[in-house]
């Protein structure tokens, strides 16, 4: 069989069929000093896909701050790794699986979990937590409901079986994701620093051992086709149905075996390097490990175990069959490695040898002892490892800010930034809606029942959050907390984005995501160790979309530099567009892992009993654009996105760590979606205890009550600790206001004018009344919001209705 039998297309147009441009073919010719054969072309096509090469984003990502004194592995490795003391380190990364999940939600999400877990244990870390950021379109659409159910089932079936707790994340509904949902998965693992393992292939003469599942036809072209093409919604060739065969299938049981075998191999020092197989399969694994090791690898194609017998060489080389690992092993340790694999029922095979020539060579007919092709063997492909990876093509894309800001998909947000009603609005649409004046209790009930703000239990009860017996807090509220067994430490983690603001201002969206995720972690008393991220954007080939990407990267970098937190890894997902809804809202998903030195100092989000003082830390900034309030109540002509003062934010983070250590706080909850009123209502619902508060407001109380300005924390404090809290806040320059106290079974917020009391009407505010709602009414809105939005009105089943 010759290498030119890749597919039945004519050779001259093959590169285009595989998704490579004419320019890219030229660049390949430059690197090889000849034209590639068909097998080589297939290997380039997957490695030079956006997903594997970062060809459009690489120059931007180089601007990000990645240094930190405790960072032991940063971007470029499978996951970032940061030291936490006691010889331990934490590995974490956020990664997307958007396009596969759009095609086949169950398997797309499941293999997304599997892929990010492999990134973690490949470093030598045992995975201890999974968080998911999920973004979908309008929940009223049957297609959205199908996707939500499928993605949640995929995550739950995979994570639960593999035995890693799913402890947090986000669920967001926004019309821009209707044709292109986002599935971003974050995994966190723990390792002894001495077991840190690199995904490199050092030592010419060493063996390349493939273990785990056999290789089949699944996921062929996934990297190039699924990650690079824009989705059509119609039944044409570009539609979802035509791409279904490319999706990989997950096997969590095999993954569990891979975890145990890989960690045993690492702990016993049996491997020189370890790499998981994900996008672009064996091609990616051998070229990346060789390039990192400064070596080459010769692959004996015939030695690769296969699930089906009639695979073409290109299919073997780019298959994305799941649950496979590549180990670099010395000859002397091979028997021990094979014994470990056999004990875990994992097939293993020597598929090649490390060489010193820097080349990836694919051979049929066997290898000689020196790793060179055996006599009579044929070379099917020979490519410099660097040409496939570090020396892949890089694009200097054109960025252009939109000259006239196009309306985003949300009528509310778009109207706030456009000069008039958005195009396509019914004739005579006003820039603002009359509902803005409605009573605050009704607004609060609507916000608590909003699909983005209501209880996540409908989803999270399907996730095993306590497997592993290390979960201190997971899923129910706030950040996830995982204790580090054998120490007093705990890891605190959260993932956030500000996509609605990103539509208006992508720089601010990214910076606010960093602010929110760091604050989520800091309210527990933890100190952030590092940031991981996933940049989800549209096509980089459109200047406006590339501008959004570059602004997101700038916001991410600016915020992390200002806060002094290193970015240890991340992932870029481009071409998130669909014919029906265009490009998605620019979504810079941020994951933060923090360290709590002593878990005894953990501050939870749930207030204790009645009689505690409620206080608000941080200053309220105006700015309603991008808030859920605007989505519900409609935009106003002057809405702007909230201001962010990164210096003040840093002060607040430091204050929270000190206040936790001093034991001053009974509870702390950051103010985010839905604003202060929702934050207060949530804490009341969690504790079952109401609150009676007085909120000084300006002429317009809406920003105070429902604005989503950053850098604010709602705390409860024992009355006799208020003085100490105010004093400590003063030292840190953090504004603090006491609002009232906890108690009763009502949430009551009296609005008083700044300086002088008086009725709201007299002050000209849009809100006429105080807010005074029974907790039972708020609970009904909050608990049933998501099942109602998903058309699952019977949930929860009757026996559980008395819960809480």
């Amino acid at each position: 069989m010759s290498a030119s039998s890749v597919v039945g297309t004519r050779a001259e147009s093959l590169h285009r069929v595989l998704g490579l441009t004419d320019e890219e073919l030229e660049a390949i010719r430059d690197r090889l000093d000849r034209l590639p054969n068909d097998l080589e072309l297939a290997m380039f096509s997957v490695m030079w896909s956006e997903h594997c090469s970062y060809k459009s984003s690489r120059l931007l990502l180089a601007t990000l701050p990645t240094m930190g004194k405790d960072v032991v592995a940063g971007p470029g490795e499978n996951a970032g790794v940061v030291r936490i003391g006691d010889g331990l380190a934490v590995a974490f990364k956020l990664e997307s699986h958007n396009h596969p999940s759009a095609v086949e939600p169950v398997q797309g999400a499941a293999t997304g979990v599997g892929g990010i877990l492999r990134d973690i244990f490949t470093m030598g870390a045992r995975p201890v937590a999974i968080l998911d950021a999920l973004k979908f379109g309008d929940p009223m659409l049957p297609r959205t409901r199908h996707l939500v159910r499928g993605v949640v089932r995929g995550i739950s079936s995979y994570g639960n079986c593999v035995g890693v707790p799913t402890v947090g994340g986000e669920l967001v509904f926004h019309p821009s994701y209707t044709g292109n949902p986002l599935v971003n998965v974050m995994a966190v693992g723990l390792l002894e620093e001495r077991h840190l393992t690199r995904a490199a292939a050092p030592g010419p003469g060493n063996l390349a051992v493939l273990f785990g599942s056999s290789t089949g036809r699944d996921g062929i072209g996934g990297a190039s086709v699924l990650a690079s093409a824009t989705f059509g919604d119609g039944p044409s060739a570009g539609g979802a149905a035509a791409k279904r065969p490319s999706v990989q299938v997950g096997d969590p049981f095999a993954e569990k075996l891979l975890i145990e075998a890989s960690l045993e191999l690492i702990e016993r020092g049996l491997v020189e390097g370890l790499q998981d197989l994900g996008a672009a399969g064996i091609t990616c694994a051998v070229s990346e490990t060789a390039d990192r090791g400064g070596t080459g690898i010769t692959v004996d194609l015939d030695a690769i175990p296969r699930r089906v017998s009639d695979l073409e060489p290109f299919e073997v080389m780019i298959s994305e069959s799941q649950e496979r690992m590549l180990a670099i092993v010395t000859e002397a340790r091979l028997p021990a490695v094979r014994e470990v694999c056999a004990r875990w029922d994992l097939p293993s095979a020597v598929i090649g040898r490390v060489t010193d020539d820097g080349l990836i060579t694919i051979v049929t007919g066997g290898l000689a002892a020196d790793g060179m092709p055996a006599p009579g063997a044929r070379v099917l492909a020979r490519i410099p490892a660097a040409a496939l990876t570090s020396d892949a093509i890089v694009y200097h894309r054109t960025a252009a800010a939109p000259t006239r800001r196009r309306p985003g998909p949300v009528p509310g947000v778009s109207a706030a930034i456009a000069d008039g009603p958005p195009p396509g609005s019914p004739p005579g649409s006003p820039p603002g809606l009359p509902e803005r004046g409605m009573d605050p209790g009704a607004v609060l009930r609507a916000l608590l029942g909003h699909p983005d703000l209501c209880s996540r239990a409908w989803v999270t009860l399907q996730y095993d959050a306590t497997v592993g017996a290390d979960t201190v807090a997971g899923n129910e509220h706030g950040a996830a907390v995982i204790r580090v067994r054998g120490t007093r430490k705990a890891l605190v983690m959260a993932t956030d984005a500000a996509e609605r603001v990103g539509v208006v201002d992508p720089w601010r969206g990214a910076a606010l995501a960093v602010a929110e995720a760091t604050l989520n972690v800091a309210v527990t008393g933890a100190v952030a160790l590092g940031v991981t991220n996933c940049l989800n954007h549209g096509s980089p080939e459109r200047p406006e979309s590339f501008w959004q990407l570059s602004e997101s990267v700038r916001g991410l970098g600016d915020a992390c530099r200002a806060l002094g937190i290193p970015i240890t890894g991340g992932n870029v997902s481009l071409y998130n567009e669909s014919a029906a809804t265009g490009a998605i809202a620019p979504t810079c998903q941020v994951g933060v892992v923090g360290l709590l030195e002593d878990v005894a100092h953990l501050v939870g989000p749930v207030p204790g009993g009645p009689g505690d003082t409620v206080a608000l830390l941080g200053a309220t900034t105006s700015g309603l654009a991008g808030s859920i309030y605007v989505e519900i109540a409609g935009p106003g002509p002057d809405d702007r996105p909230p201001e962010l003062d990164l210096a003040a934010h840093g002060d607040l983070l430091r204050f929270l760590a000190d206040a936790a250590r001093a034991g001053l706080l009974r509870s702390a909850q950051d103010v985010s979606g839905g604003g202060l009123a929702v934050a207060i209502a949530e804490t009341c619902l969690w504790s079952g205890v109401g609150a009676d508060l007085i909120l000084p407001v300006d002429a317009d109380p809406v920003p105070e009550l429902f604005g989503e300005g950053p850098s604010r924390v709602l705390v409860t404090v024992a009355p006799d600790a208020v003085g100490a809290l105010v004093a400590l806040a003063g030292e840190h320059g953090v504004p603090v206001r006491t609002l009232g106290s906890t108690g009763g079974d009502q949430l009551r917020i009296r609005l008083v004018g700044q300086g002088s009391p008086g009725s709201a009407e007299d002050r000209g505010g849009g809100i006429a009344d105080d807010l005074d709602e029974p907790l039972g009414v708020l609970r009904d809105a909050w608990e049933h919001g998501l099942p109602r939005a998903m058309g699952d009105d019977d949930w929860p089943p009757a026996p559980d209705s008395s819960a809480g």
């Binding site: 095999a254 009860l461 399907q462 095993d464 306590t466 201190v472 026996p799 819960a803």
Partner: protein
């Protein structure tokens, strides 16, 4: 007191059970599923997880594994045997406790904190639990809906085979008949339950009620004049 925790390749609560037994004062060690040597365990635990992936039916393959022969003999000698979650499913598949575990009534995986009433205080697993106390611990399963035909159910209740029931306020998470969460065999020495006592072993993690179960066993064995097994393994 020696606790052997069987490790199937897809067990994922094995380390948690080993940890909880250690906290209760026992010496705990893993027993590989291909082994037939229980190494003198006084208590054998079949832990939670997905023994062999459970793609067929939870526990259906695990009951055929090499270790299960030794486990049956251990149970027949009135050795203590505890199946948690997937371990309960294996016990039921193996016929070591009555009943079957169907898909949850919700047809979804359910992870929840539940409360258990303790129906018997005279078993080796419950004798240290204060009367009247309900236990708080998590459930995490897709197939925990306990079922028996009426006649068998009547027989089970007659011989007081029900040890744990789901209790208010959270109630029955999976549709189990008569809210049954855990049962013992006729000898009273083999116990299966769906909730996870090993995940409720420390207050930091939300509850230490599960320790009452492990401590009951440890203290019961220690109180016996001689441990059932005195041979020493490594």
């Amino acid at each position: 007191m020696r606790v052997g925790v069987v490790v199937f390749p897809g067990s994922n609560c094995d380390r948690d059970a080993l940890h909880a037994a250690r906290l209760a004062g026992a010496e705990s060690f893993p027993v590989w599923h291909e082994s037939t040597d229980l190494r003198g365990a006084d208590l054998v635990v079949l832990p939670g997880g997905f023994a062999y992936g459970d793609y067929l039916r939870a526990g259906a393959l695990a009951r055929l594994s090499p270790v299960m022969g030794a486990v049956r003999e251990h149970a027949a000698r009135r050795g203590l045997l505890l199946g948690i979650c997937n371990g309960f499913q294996v016990l039921a598949e193996a016929g070591l406790v009555p009943g079957v575990l169907l898909r949850n009534a919700s047809m979804r995986f359910e992870h929840r904190w539940v409360r258990l009433s303790v129906e018997r205080h005279d078993t080796p697993f419950t004798r240290g639990i204060p009367p009247g106390m309900t236990l708080r611990m998590p459930v995490a399963h897709g197939e925990g809906n306990y079922f028996l035909p009426d006649a068998d159910l009547h027989a089970l209740e007659e011989r007081r085979g029900v040890v744990f029931r789901y209790a208010p306020p959270e109630g029955n998470p999976n549709g189990s008949v008569r809210a049954i969460a855990g049962v013992v065999d006729a000898r009273g020495t083999t116990c299966g339950l769906m909730p996870h006592p090993e995940r409720a072993a420390e207050r930091l993690l939300g509850s230490d009620d599960g320790m009452l179960l492990f401590r009951s066993v440890v203290e019961g064995v220690a109180a016996a004049s001689l441990p059932p097994s005195v041979e020493v393994g490594m």
